[in-house]
């Protein structure tokens, strides 16, 4: 069972299975900016609690999907132009910021003006009762055609085409699992008792690096390895423990 179909969400902006939310976000029918990702993680933890066991396959999938959503959301929150702004020299940046502040102020004031206008119209009501139907009935004889029937054929023809399938490709592009990374780590630790994290993830993409960290946590939990890092951003050294479990790889799943 995939976590995407398995995980039921009940958020303010959305209620339903996780995969539907993904599809809606990708089709821009749900605004990712309004989706609280932390709540999704909490829902997932509840989901794990309810199941009472950790399905590594599912955990990996969830991690990858949420990471992709996080990246997407952070990009939305920091539009590209903001990045460009950071690269401007202080003078240019000040001018750019000034222009934006002026623009924002202009429309805030315009908003105040509109509200004042609406208030001034307070108490003025318009009649909304429809005119009697017998007065509105047109005489068909005097009418000319104004619409092209082809418009209807086109409209119905377009509706007959099924839409292209929503591609989740770029969300699930890296299908790396915790088990795969566990195998790699165990193999490496089987050869050398000490290992640097950089070696373990050499040439790997970011998702693989993230999943490797997850696998490392798993090794630690099982008492198969410890690791240490002497300073922030420094090298992480992984050390195999005395009671190695190498060779029992398949059992872990």
């Amino acid at each position: 069972m995939s976590v995407a179909t398995d995980l039921e969400l009940d958020l303010d902006v959305f209620s339903g299975p996780f995969d539907l939310l993904l599809a809606l976000v990708l089709r821009e029918e749900v605004d990712l900016l309004e989706v609280p990702l932390a709540d999704i993680v909490l829902a997932y933890l509840d989901h794990l609690d309810a199941r009472g066991e950790l399905d590594l396959e599912q955990a990996t999938e969830f991690l990858v999907l949420v990471a992709a959503l996080l990246e997407l959301k952070s990009r939305l929150m920091l539009p590209r132009e903001e990045e460009e702004l950071l690269e401007l020299d202080p003078g240019e940046a000040a001018e750019e910021l000034l222009a934006r502040m002026l623009e924002a102020k202009r429309y805030r004031s315009a908003a105040d003006d509109l509200r004042a206008r609406l208030e001034a119209e307070e108490g003025i009501r318009y009649r909304s009762a429809p005119a009697p139907a017998w007065l509105k009935r047109p005489s068909l004889d005097e009418l000319d055609a104004v619409y092209d029937p082809a418009r209807l054929g086109q409209a119905i023809g377009a509706l007959l085409k099924p839409p292209p399938e929503v591609s989740l490709h770029h969300v699930t592009v890296h299908a790396v699992t915790v088990e795969q990374r566990l195998k790699v780590l165990r193999r490496l630790l089987g050869r050398a008792r000490t290992l640097s994290f950089d070696e373990a993830v050499r040439g790997a993409d970011r998702v693989t690096v993230a999943v490797t960290v997850w696998a490392l946590l798993e090794l630690y939990k099982r008492g198969e390895a410890t690791w240490h890092q002497d300073e922030p951003f420094g090298e992480i050294t992984i050390v195999a423990q005395d009671e190695p479990a190498w060779g029992r790889e398949e059992q872990a799943a």
């Binding site: 995939s2 995407a4 179909t5 995969d19 539907l20 993904l22 599809a23 089709r27 396959e57 990996t60 999938e61 990858v64 999907l65 009501r125 009649r127 909304s128 009762a129 429809p130 005119a131 007065l135 509105k136 009935r137 047109p138 005489s139 068909l140 009418l143 055609a145 104004v146 619409y147 092209d148 029937p149 082809a150 418009r151 209807l152 054929g153 086109q154 409209a155 119905i156 023809g157 377009a158 509706l159 007959l160 085409k161 099924p162 839409p163 399938e165 929503v166 989740l168 969300v171 699930t172 890296h174 299908a175 790396v176 699992t177």
Partner: protein, 197 residues
Amino acid sequence: MSELARVIEALLFLSSEPVSADDLAEAVDAHPDEVAEALDELRAAYAPGARGLIVKEVAGGVTLATDPVAEAAARRLLARPRTPPLTPAQAEALAIVAYLQPVSRPEMARIRGVSSDSATTTLVERGLIEEAGRSQFGAVLYRTTPLFLKLFGLNSLDDLPDPSQWDPTPQEEADLRERLLRAGEQRAGVAPPPPAP
């Protein structure tokens, strides 16, 4: 004109239904005698022949109505069909009704993948479609009107263009409805789950 008569004039103007003397008295927070007096004042102001409007007593209360003097002009103003260009949503809703009639709103929503309520309301207002009874589930059904045929220059519904012109995979006409619904469900869609990693 007294303020009470002015207020009552405004209330009669706003209300699409005749208003009873009791309701008027309650709304203006005045004694029924005062309301009756104000109504007399209004009737005098709208004496037949004086204005374009008249005060009418009908079952259930008082109402403002137009004087027959304006009937011909009113027909010219109101009986002219409004024919602004159709929006994409309106064209789709109208096409569905035209080809599948009678058809219900839920069915239209399933085919388009989104609700067509405002498009449908506009099409009814413009007289292009009208209600045609109810489905077995109680949903209002719609069909096109004679005005629709006229404005599209069609002699009958048989003259509707063959959708296979615009449809890449023409099939028998009989299953048009079913194919539309299938495509619509995909559109509204519950997208297929992403491939498992």
